[in-house]
């Protein structure tokens, strides 16, 4: 083989790059990790005197081939206790028909009416397949389902992510849709129909009348449906060695049956009536049959010495007139080799939906829609908490979080008058949350 060294190589740089490429060219054997990750978590949520919830989550992820992942998540939660039914407090005891139509419950004078029949158990599951897509992207597709005794939801989602600029920039797109079936206890109430009288006084009373008032006013059949479509577009940018920022825009549209079948609006005697402020009756609420929400989200994570600061802000607005701001600050501080503390605080503020009414007045024309659900009313809220994480027991990693949430309902546009004066129509609520989460790679 006769080779003579070449004089004055025209481009050493290019020649060397080509030589290196052919030396290293054949891809090294893929280092596919085939393993299983297991995670679980338990959340205990309690609003003293009201709702308690227990949620358990299990997640199993199978990594296979070359960065393909199949994840199965199962959620079980159970909710019990009392929740505001929408009616305003009154100077006299108030009696409400239970959602099932059989039996009733009575709320003491001067107290926020709470429906104490809430007892719900939910199972939810999702299966997600996530895989590499084109050269620097990933693609996922998933199926979700959730079932309660009065609610069934089935959905699907898909999303792609793509990295640019040596993985410093990530753009993601996702869409999901779901079809929900609502089959309230006692059937779907007619919007703005009066709460029917209870047909019996015992849950096990099978003798209620065939043509009772209760059944008439829950005359929309046994169930209804709603459809939800969500879309999200996101950008994540590594700014420098210690800073990462993220922006998201998301849009969500729901249509169909959007009422809460268990919420009422009180109808009160007007200010000129001798019984001003006393309840006459209670109407089932009525919301629009379409709801479009938008939100923008910005987050910055910054490493400062050995700690990490995480600041985020979300602005949400919708066509129901609700706007909300959420600001959150987390600060992760390592203590020891893997254990960290992460105190956080979250502030939340929302304005009321246009159709939010603390009450309706007798003699007034009915508005097009009305709901007294406090979740649609004006409020501020604060969450403070701390997470302690990163501790290991063998190969198992644990994190524990304790949080306190305080919700301050603000008075709506409608003033207290007559017998309502001096009553707390927007009672604040507090909740404790305790979480343990656990990760394991067998």
């Amino acid at each position: 083989m006769q080779l003579s060294p070449r004089k004055n190589p025209t481009s050493l740089r290019t020649g060397l790059a080509l030589a290196a490429a052919s030396l290293l060219g054949p891809k090294a054997a893929s280092a596919a990790i085939e393993d299983v990750e297991v995670g679980s978590g338990v959340l205990v949520y309690t609003e003293p005197g009201r709702v308690s919830a227990l949620e358990a989550v299990a997640l199993v992820t199978r990594n296979f081939w070359d960065k393909h992942k199949l994840s199965l998540r199962v959620v079980y939660d159970t909710l019990t206790g009392a929740s505001p039914n929408g009616a305003v407090a009154s100077r006299s005891p108030q009696t409400f028909t239970r959602p099932s139509g059989s039996g009733s419950y009575t709320v003491n004078a001067n107290e926020t009416p709470l429906d104490d029949t809430f007892k719900d158990t939910r199972f939810a599951g999702s299966l997600t397949y996530d895989r590499p897509f084109l050269s620097a992207g990933r693609w996922n597709v998933g199926l979700q389902g959730s079932s309660e005794h009065d609610y069934l939801s089935i959905g699907a989602s898909t999303g792609i992510t793509r990295e640019f600029d040596r993985k410093n920039t990530t753009i993601s797109l996702g869409v999901s849709g779901s079809r929900d079936e609502i089959s309230p206890e006692g059937g779907v109430p007619t919007a703005f129909a009066e709460m029917g009288a209870a047909t019996g006084h015992h849950e096990d009373d099978f003798t209620r009348g065939d043509d009772g008032e209760y059944d008439e006013n829950r005359g929309e059949g046994s169930g209804d449906t709603k459809s939800v479509v969500d879309g999200v577009i996101g950008l994540t940018q590594v700014v420098n060695r210690t800073t990462l920022i993220r922006f998201n825009y998301s849009i969500s549209n729901s249509s169909g049956y959007l009422n809460d079948p268990y919420k009422f609006v009180s109808v009160l005697y007007g200010p000129d009536d001798p019984s001003a402020g006393d309840p006459i009756t209670y109407l089932y609420e009525k919301r629009p049959d379409s709801h479009t929400k938008h939100s923008i989200y910005a987050q910055a994570k910054k490493r400062i010495a050995s700690t990490t600061m995480d600041i985020s802000y979300r602005f949400l607005w919708d066509d129901w007139g609700i706007t909300s701001h959420t600001a959150e600050l987390k600060h992760r501080v390592p203590i020891g080799e893997t254990v960290y503390f992460e105190p956080h605080v979250r502030l939340y503020e929302q304005t009321a939906a246009d159709f939010y009414r603390t009450y309706l007045l007798s003699g007034e024309a009915l508005p097009a829609e009305a709901s007294a659900d406090p979740r649609l009313g004006p409020m501020t809220a604060i969450t403070v908490g701390n997470r302690v994480g990163g501790f290991h027991v063998g190969e198992q990693e644990f994190a524990v979080t304790l949080e306190y949430y305080r919700q301050f309902l603000k008075d709506g546009d409608q003033p207290a008058f007559g017998s309502l004066e001096g009553l707390d129509l927007s009672e604040d609520m507090g909740a404790f949350m305790f979480r343990i989460s656990h990760g394991w790679e067998p």
């Binding site: 740089r13 030589a19 290293l24 990790i33 949620e55 060695r241 909300s324 190969e395």
Partner: protein, 339 residues
């Protein structure tokens, strides 16, 4: 003849949360740094990297009887069939030999017979060097992939490529894993940088449960739209800070650079040189003369996309002698020369 080296490796988590794996191969301390959430990923990466280093060492070492290099030498002028990887390495060596007008030559190792870089030893006389020159020169080798025939008495030495090649191979092996890695074999290193996704089960659960306070109590809940998942690394940090070591003093960095991607390799005579009669003879020998290249820098460090490129450029720069810096300027690579 060096015996089978102990194949120990250790993995520890440093206080800054980075996993550090360590082992010994190719006569050098080797290190793997891993910025990843999962210990199993770090352990897998260390296993891949160390096994690859040991594999390449065993296959191409000139000190081992069972290496490919030993097999070629044993053939004593007969044809030897080569496997694909050896073919590619020899083709690469041939291409660099061409590109460097013969100043890089893997047959120059026989000069060791004349040159000893033990402290206190004297440079050889011209006659003993000249006796060796007929045994040097890639043009004398018959290389017809996948076969090679080496004239009797000639040797090939892949030591000038092997470590850098091992770094690139190891880096490639871990590039599929989730996390960021730094492969460092005795100061030749390559960063494997990616945005560190925290896709662990634990991470996803966190976001799953963390919205609980909003899902029951305020209006953000009704459609249960997904919140932005908490899927990035807790730090947002990316890349590696590495020191370019002084050739004269151990553990003293002459430069600290941020290596977001690519490789660094160093060539130099820091630990291998003889001083005789006031003249310093570096270990970079010009295969065409058999003598050390005059006025060569003591060490050259180059940043390039791959470690083999960085290593070859560093070596070729040394062979340029006093023109090392201008050579690297011309080629347009970041570099650090110490004289």
């Amino acid at each position: 003849m060096i015996g089978q080296p102990a194949r120990d490796r250790t993995l520890d988590k440093r206080p800054d949360g980075i996993w550090r794996g360590a082992f010994f191969s190719m006569a050098s301390p080797c290190e793997l740094l891993a910025r990843t959430q999962r210990k199993s990923t770090a352990a897998k990466a260390l296993e891949l990297v160390s096994e690859e280093a040991w594999r390449i060492e065993a296959k191409f070492s000139r000190y081992r009887d069972d290496s490919v290099v030993a097999e070629i030498h044993r053939a004593r002028g007969s044809w030897v069939s080569l496997d694909d990887e050896t073919n590619r390495l020899l083709l690469f060596a041939q291409q660099v030999w061409e590109l460097s007008s013969g100043s890089f030559d893997i047959t120059s190792g026989v000069l060791r017979r004349a040159w000893s870089f033990q402290p206190g030893s004297a440079p050889p006389d011209q006659a003993s060097v000249e006796r060796l020159l007929p045994l040097i020169g890639w043009s004398r080798v018959e290389f017809r992939p996948p076969k090679i025939r080496l004239p009797e008495g000639m040797e090939i030495d892949l030591g000038g490529i092997g470590k850098e090649y091992a770094v690139d191979r190891a880096a490639e092996l871990v590039s599929n894993l989730e996390g960021e890695f730094l492969v460092n074999f005795g100061g030749d290193l390559r960063a494997v940088t990616q945005q560190a996704h925290d896709h662990s089960a634990h991470g996803e659960l966190r976001s799953d449960l963390s919205d609980a306070s909003t899902s029951w109590a305020d209006s953000t809940s009704p459609t249960g739209s997904s919140s932005p998942a908490d899927s990035t690394s807790p730090t947002g940090a990316t890349g590696w800070t590495v020191g370019v070591e002084s050739p004269a003093v151990d553990d003293v960095a002459i430069a600290e650079i941020h290596l977001a991607s690519g490789a660094l390799a160093t060539s130099g005579d820091s630990k291998r040189a003889v001083v005789h009669g006031g003249t310093r003879y570096g270990h970079v020998l010009d295969p065409r003369t058999g003598w050390p290249v005059p006025h060569a820098p003591r060490s050259v460090t180059v940043h390039a996309p791959t470690c083999v490129e960085a290593g070859m450029l560093a070596t070729l720069a040394l062979l340029q002698g006093e023109n090392a810096e201008s050579f690297l300027e011309e080629q347009g690579f970041r570099h650090w020369c110490v004289r």
